[in-house]
């Protein structure tokens, strides 16, 4: 047997101890690294790792030229730790800025006064916030001093170097152009929840995805190098591009506001649409909401009424009847009709013209120039109700557009079987049915565009934060009437503007304009009967030789002046502004008006 003695024995024991210790360490290592690794990691993370939410920024809404209509502002909440204000007997020290060296002693009361001076609060108000929080919970570590301060105030507060004062940034929607396009852009309510307009309809595009990341923090709050782990990448919201032109929108709103005020009307609308693309470049309404200050606006005027408030269009729809007659080959612009001023075509159905006149030998062009209800119905009655209804539908009446607004009214257009006899005649001159002003603009866009209706659009596209562009669909273009019909109707409408009583009021030197007035009765929803005052409209196309834009102005229920003139003036202001904005060259060629009588 091997017998160990002396140094050999000691060496062997030492080796054995080392081997045993190694096994113990090895076992522990495996335990820590493998067996209970996950649990330990979690435990450690909770102690050191700090999860941080990275809020995404809501996207901008911009006009056709990239001018910002809605953007996101950063505001700051001021918070304090009530229990820490009492630390060290309510005294803290900060660098002495006057001497440049050393520190000065500041009491909590002094600090409250300094904070209040910046936030506009009184020292005792802040003291009360602290006292209330501590009364509620003696260990309270959090209370708001003031929410939503701006950057200047934030920097002033930071300069106070108060250890128990902290700040948190938050996002707030702001609209640098105020009420310009406010009706379209919409607004957000509390906590930036979208409530109306594009903010609501394009919410999906505008909303981003919040990111999260964690980092391990050292004792003094600095992230440990290499410990930042992005658990979800932040993705900001996309940018919504509108077809609106900001400056033209302002001019249009100015124009309609001015006219509504000058005749003390109840409301006014003014829409400008591109003939070739269907894009709405201005959708103006009187008294539009300023999304920065929603409460200051009239609650009845906060919606985009151009899309949600249909009304009976009146004589502007005689163009549809004329289009149907010519397109069906039943009439030409020169079709003759001996027109009286009053008609009872059948039992219980009667209507008259707006002014008394003897029987006059008008052509179709003359009937529209004089806006004769009798003449329009006498000719239009040659078409069946179904045919006339089909044409109304082809022009987009009775169907909501897909321009991009969250809510829209389709207007009221009953099927022919539901028309009573009076309605059957009334629909020929734009009564007994209703349309939004955007739908009416669409009718004139169709005529101006050679008979092809391009659906009106308001939202061009959504550009995501990584640059991906998604174009919005608004529907397919459709041929409503033949090109030759459209040309004939254009000639009639230009005759209307050159031969009508208002020609001088409308004229823009150098530019040829085609258009039609409308003075429509409206049903009073309270009584169910027609009101005694009117909605005055003018729908026009310019330049008539090469149609580029359509504008429709409506001024409703004036109580101190001539609404027809007001709507003409609003149209003319809009047309002039559009010509300046888009640098439309003057018209070429002369127009010879069609004969109005035979």
């Amino acid at each position: 047997m091997l017998r160990l003695r002396g140094p050999s024995l000691r060496r062997a024991i030492a080796l054995l101890v080392i081997i045993l210790a190694s096994f113990v360490f090895m076992a522990r290592l495996v335990d820590v690294q493998v067996v209970s690794a996950a649990a330990l990691n979690d435990e450690a993370k909770d102690k050191r790792a700090v999860p941080v939410a990275i809020p995404s920024v809501r996207g901008d809404i911009v006009d056709r030229n990239g001018e910002v209509l809605a953007t996101t502002d950063e505001r700051y909440d001021v918070q304090l730790s009530p229990k820490n204000t009492k630390l060290n007997k309510g005294v803290f020290y900060r660098a002495d800025t006057e001497r440049g060296v050393g520190t000065v002693e500041v009491t909590a009361q002094q600090a409250f006064a300094e904070i209040g001076e910046i936030t506009g609060q009184k020292a005792n108000e802040i003291q009360k916030i602290v006292d209330d929080a501590l009364a509620d919970n003696p260990k309270s570590d959090f209370a708001y001093v003031k929410r939503s301060i701006d950057l200047t105030q934030l920097n002033q507060l930071k300069a106070l170097e108060i250890p128990w004062l902290t700040f948190e940034s938050q996002h707030k929607r702001t609209y640098p152009n105020g009420a310009v396009g406010g009706n379209i852009v919409g607004f957000a309510g509390a906590d930036d929840v979208p409530q109306a307009g594009i903010e609501l309809s394009q919410n999906e595009c505008l909303t981003g995805v919040d990111g999260t990341e964690t980092y391990e923090r050292s004792e003094d709050g600095v992230p440990l190098p290499g410990s930042v782990v992005v658990t979800r990448k932040v993705q900001d919201g996309g940018t919504v591009e509108l077809t609106i032109d900001r400056d033209l929108q302002w001019e249009a709103q100015q124009a309609i506001n001015k006219q509504v005020q000058s005749v003390a009307a109840e409301w006014g609308l003014l829409v400008i649409q591109n003939v070739k693309t269907g894009e709405l470049v201005a959708v103006a309404e009187d008294g539009s909401v300023d999304p920065n200050d929603v409460d200051a606006s009239d609650p009845t005027k906060r919606e985009a009424r151009s899309f949600t408030a249909p009304y009976e269009p009146g004589s502007t729809f005689k163009s549809i009847t004329a289009s149907a007659l010519i397109d069906q080959g039943v009439a030409t612009p020169l079709s003759q009709n001996l027109t009286p001023d009053y008609l009872e075509p059948e039992e219980g159905v009667r209507f008259g013209d707006a002014f008394p006149h003897p029987e006059i030998p008008w052509t179709l062009a003359g009937i529209l120039t004089q806006s004769s209800n009798v003449g329009t119905s006498m000719l239009g009655n040659q078409l069946s109700e179904d045919v006339r209804y089909d044409y109304l539908r082809k022009f987009g009446i009775g169907e909501e557009t897909h321009a991009g607004m969250p809510v829209e009214d389709s207007g009221l257009l009953y099927a022919p079987k539901d028309w009573d006899r009076q309605t059957s005649y009334n629909t020929m001159f734009g009564q007994g049915l209703s349309s939004t002003i955007v739908q009416t603009a669409g009718v004139y866009q169709t005529i101006a565009n050679g008979g092809v209706r391009i659906p009106p659009s308001l939202v061009k596209d959504c550009v995501s934060s990584d640059g991906e562009k998604q174009t919005m669909k608004h529907g397919k273009s459709q041929k409503a009437i033949k090109k030759s019909t459209a040309d004939d109707v254009m000639a009639i409408l230009e005759t209307v503007t050159t031969e009508g009583w208002f020609a001088d009021r409308l004229a823009i030197p150098g530019y040829r304009i085609a258009g039609k007035t409308g003075t429509a009765e409206q049903v009073n929803p309270d009584t169910g009967l027609y009101r005694t005052d009117y909605v005055h409209s003018f729908a026009g196309i310019f330049p008539a030789d090469d149609p580029q834009f359509v504008a429709v102005a409506s001024v409703a229920f004036p109580s101190a002046g001539d609404g027809s003139l007001a709507s003409l003036q609003a149209f003319r202001d809009a047309a002039e502004a559009t010509i300046r904005t888009f640098h439309i060259p003057p018209s070429t060629g002369d127009f010879t008006p069609l004969p109005t009588e035979y």
Binding site: V68, L151, G510, R580
Partner: protein, 203 residues
């Protein structure tokens, strides 16, 4: 002849030599071992290494590694502080940039431009004339009609804190509510005689 076997002394000696193995070779002086240390080559003195020195060198290397590692991690954490300071600076500057660009947006709003233009008495060329390049023709009248810049009727709450120019071109605080559209008092419309027609009366 004796009974004993004569011994071949040579072979016996050889056997004995093989057995004992210690039989000195006949070369050299008797009693001298044939192995001896090799003489150290001249001029190449072997250093005298004590185990202590080796241990110290090893410890020194380890300490040096520690020192370098410490230095590196100090440098990294210094970098972390610097990068954090720079991140904060970048955040602060981007906040300033945001505020400034939003101020530009506000000042570029049509309301602000119109109010300032109106205050300065500017006029607008409402019907610009156009020069056609193809034939050099001037379209429209050269003595174009001008209109006064009309006062702004569209509210914008973001402009409240922004100054505006007066007629002398000096910056003055904006009059609160300047843009607030004032509706004229409603005048009750005269009651019309409606006649016998319930039908629309449109033209």
């Amino acid at each position: 002849m004796s009974a004993t076997v004569p011994i071949d002394t040579h072979s016996a000696a050889a056997r004995a030599g093989a057995h004992l193995g210690a039989a000195p070779l006949p070369t050299g002086r008797p009693g001298e071992r044939h192995l001896r240390p090799v003489a150290t080559p001249a001029g190449k003195a072997h250093p005298k290494r004590s185990p202590l020195a080796i241990a110290m060198v090893g410890v020194a290397i380890i300490l040096m590694i520690f020192a370098v590692q410490l230095g590196l991690s100090i440098a990294i954490s210094q970098g972390a502080y610097e990068s954090r300071a720079l991140e904060i600076r970048q955040r602060d500057l981007s906040r300033v940039e945001r505020v400034l660009s939003q101020n530009v947006d506000k000042l570029a709003s049509p309301q602000n431009l119109a109010e300032n233009a109106a205050a300065l008495g500017m006029v607008q060329n409402s019907r610009p004339a156009t020069l056609r390049l193809s034939d050099g023709a001037v379209l429209g009248a050269l003595d174009s009609e001008t209109t006064e810049a009309s006062g702004n009727l569209i509210p914008n709450a973001t402009l409240e804190s922004m100054p505006v120019v007066d007629a002398q071109g000096l910056l003055v605080p904006r009059v609160a509510g300047q843009a607030a559209a004032v509706q004229p008092d409603k005048i009750d419309p005269p009651v019309r005689w409606t006649g016998k027609l319930p039908a629309p009366d449109t033209h």
